[in-house]
Subunit: 504 residues, 2 copies
């Protein structure tokens, strides 16, 4: 069944049950688990830890580090069992989110490329245990990761103990798709030698000191993927504006039909844009991104996408089986890297990435909030958007112009929380249109954003705010008393709509 996947025979007697693995965990420990956007996450040990906590009648509280989000059932079970004292660098699970927003879990919302630098530099404390999903273990004990690489190479390097979850339900054919590279410690680091999106610079496995392998847990559970929201009229309009923009850049002589390497956040807009590319005249496209979703495989199948570099493969439940059954066919067109490499700001700069990410809201000057609903409640986290946005060739943020059936305008006078500053945002797109902010001063940005991106319902009110602000002057005019009033109104009245009596 699984034995041939443990190619180093001496490791076969380290097979233990998930419960035995869970017994290693003690209160106050720091644990690093594989998993990025619900792909390649540890599946058995965290659930066994939650169970053990329940049996004990008190939670074993840990500090949990992952690549990014893990299966919802894992974060949910650990939250329910009260096991999470601290959590980083990203999550997207409802129960955990609520616990974070109640202040019960201390959450560090980090740039995804930076976590391992801080860990290797000893700035986040000791890592006690790493739990890493593998599709195989090599003759030399190397770990072949599954559908994500994430932060696993550094977790394995730094942890006192390593537990491997050998998953024989994941295709063995994933082997050869990974490229594991850990930059050496600073200040004597060499340049990362990636010159093209497909360059391979490391090993196809995660090297591990075999003495640290405390146990191998066997599983065949599949990744617990979530459905992707279907393309709708608005996401299709956003995609259309973006494709028009790319055409405009080609006509201006700034890009060829192959564009620049693409990075795309996850979600329905990303899917719509990538689907739009499938029907476009662009060709020989390349991706240098984080998450490879359904649409990436469709673009490869259609012959449009030449190569995709990422750090995880996250599919919809509907497409997962088909893609994973044929995964060997993609091996010469896809590479999976550690997230510090897939998201490396120096590589983003060198390769000239087109970065496309989703905003929760943007203000009239182009500051973007990616994380906090109404300035206070964490949604998921900044993820890799900051790794890409500051150094990309072109930085694009997309959002629908309204949310909650129009009760929320995604274009606001002042962002209630800022993750991406005006300095970092080149292009803002909603279904209403596209604002090209390159070369514009804040006063110019405001007019373009209000005109092109705001929903017509909110356009006049935004322009009123801007005109009132202009009377007070400044490089970035604001009426401080009113700047967050739209958010306050929503909190009190359930809508940002301005009552008629107030409206001029």
């Amino acid at each position: 069944m699984y034995e041939d996947r443990i190619r180093n025979a001496s490791l076969r007697d380290r097979v233990i049950s998930a419960d035995e693995a869970a017994a290693f965990f003690q209160d106050g420990m720091t644990v690093g688990m594989s998993g990025f956007t619900r792909a390649g996450d540890a599946k058995e040990v965290p659930l066994a830890l939650a169970e053990r906590s329940k049996r004990l009648g008190r939670p074993i509280r840990i500090n949990l580090w992952t690549g990014a989000s893990v299966a919802e059932e894992v974060d949910r079970a650990l939250t329910e069992a009260g096991c999470l004292a601290r959590r980083l660098p990203y999550q997207s699970e409802k129960l955990l989110r609520d616990a974070i927003n109640r202040g019960e879990v201390m959450y560090l919302d980090q740039h995804l490329s930076l976590t391992v630098e801080m860990i290797r530099d000893g700035q986040l404390g000791n890592l006690d245990i790493a739990v890493i999903e593998a599709v195989a273990i090599t003759e030399d004990g190397g770990i072949i990761p599954s559908t994500s690489v994430g932060n696993s190479p550094t977790f394995v390097k730094m942890a006192d103990k390593v537990i491997i979850e050998l998953n024989y339900g994941q295709p063995a054919a994933l082997e050869g798709m990974h490229d594991v590279y850990i930059p050496i410690d600073r200040p004597n680091r060499e340049p990362i030698p990636i010159l093209e999106v497909g360059d391979r610079i490391g090993t196809p496995y995660i090297p591990v000191d075999m003495d640290k392998v405390a146990g191998i847990v066997i599983t065949n559970k599949l990744d617990h993927f979530s459905p992707v929201s279907p393309v709708d009229e608005e996401t299709e309009a956003i995609a259309g504006h973006l494709l028009d923009f790319f055409e405009h850049e080609i006509r201006a002589g700034r890009m060829t039909d192959s564009l620049h390497p693409l990075q795309s956040g996850i979600g329905s807009v990303a899917n719509a844009v990538l689907s739009g590319l499938k029907k476009s005249r662009f060709e020989n496209l390349e991706m240098y991104s984080e998450v490879l979703q359904d649409s990436v495989f469709e673009l490869i199948d259609s012959g449009k996408l030449r190569y995709a570099s990422g750090c995880s493969i996250t599919l919809s439940p509907a497409r997962a089986k088909d893609v994973l059954d044929r995964i060997a066919d993609y091996r010469d067109k896809i590479v999976l890297r550690p997230q510090e490499i897939s998201n490396h700001p120096g590589l983003v700069r060198r390769l000239g990435i087109i970065a496309m990410n989703t905003a929760i809201e943007a203000d009239i000057y182009g500051n973007v909030n990616s994380t906090h609903v109404m300035g206070t409640k964490m949604m998921n986290g900044i993820g890799g958007s900051g790794d890409f946005a500051r150094n990309a060739y072109i930085t694009i943020f997309v959002t629908k112009s309204t949310a909650k059936n129009g009760a929320i305008s995604s274009i606001v006078p002042m962002a209630s929380h800022v993750d991406h500053t005006e300095h970092d945002v080149d292009i803002l797109v909603t279904e209403q249109g596209l604002a090209d902010l390159r070369g514009l001063a804040p006063r110019e940005r405001a007019q373009v954003i209000i005109r092109n991106c705001a929903h017509p319902y909110y356009r006049d009110a935004l322009m009123d705010y801007y005109r009132d602000a202009l009377k007070l002057g400044g490089h970035t005019p604001h009426v401080l008393d009113q700047a967050l009033s739209w958010h306050s109104r929503f909190m009190k009245e359930g809508s940002m709509r301005i009552p008629v009596v107030e409206h001029r």
Copy 2:
């Protein structure tokens, strides 16, 4: 006098007057001028342009690009003459600042490493004329820059016409100190091959197509440096906290006595910190920074600083002559680079920089405002702080805890403008103390920042705000109605102090 500094004899007949050079300028042109932090700026041609505008009775309006700030008299004269339609990427002159804040000059406040990428990519339009200060012109027509490199190499590469201001008042001995390197266009760019702060990878001159040299203007005007604010009790206290922190990091085994390469913003705090290093036990220090100020030369003289890489030499009027007279002695200890290299985020990451920059204000969660007074009025600009902050080994922001004799608290409930997000700020320091934010969630950050950094006068009021915010919950708790009330109060009453009746 100057002839021997034009070593290519065929160029000697291109010497023209500043007035003749100014005649090249036409309304609507884009002009790139040398200059970074008032060092190595074009001195004659911009003033002649202002004069010509006055004579004409109407301004010749240009779009002016520089490295960073230029001599105050230059930006002032151009502002007074109405010549500045647009300006980027940094300034620090009072008249210009006022014009920006009145909306008369469209100002692009950019990350200083990014401007040339956008220019070379054609994203900011055509560059008509470059005006570059030189200490000499080589046999092959290469330009030897003076006290800064800034954006000049790209200006020379991209401009239709090049005007050289040959300045024989600047020391000829600056030759050999520069290292000019322009990364090739993307997406086929090689890694920038700097492995140590002192590595030289380019040419000691700016290559120029001699056919483009439209004129050489002769001058001997010195750089118009500004005095540096002296170290005072508060800046000394800030420096003391930082030095204690470095000791703490050494004890924790995370750094050696040589620390990591240092980057330091300009100003009195930077001077105090670097002066503190002179008296410290640290040794073999290195700098990888933007501006090399007085204190850098003092550190080299004292034997503490092994090597300094920067993009400009900006001295106080009191020290300028002494340092420049001995500049040849520093040639094996200093390199001047283009600002895209001195500030390159990929190199900042690779070299593991300790980044120290100044905040105007920070909020209780560690978001930093570097640019906008009361959220609206531009002070100078973000400069290189964003290039360094996101990718540094440790990112430090410093500010005095109050301004305007205590009427302003630099620690506020919510930053009125965000240039550096909570994700990017590791350490916050005021004269009151140091907040180590690494590994802390926002609710933990708030307590440490209020306790360690806020002025005692404002501490209780900040804690009151935080407690009120906690009642509303959230990952980053805020009372939106009150979040900017401290700034509003200052705008109305001239002070952030809370009247006694309101205070609980």
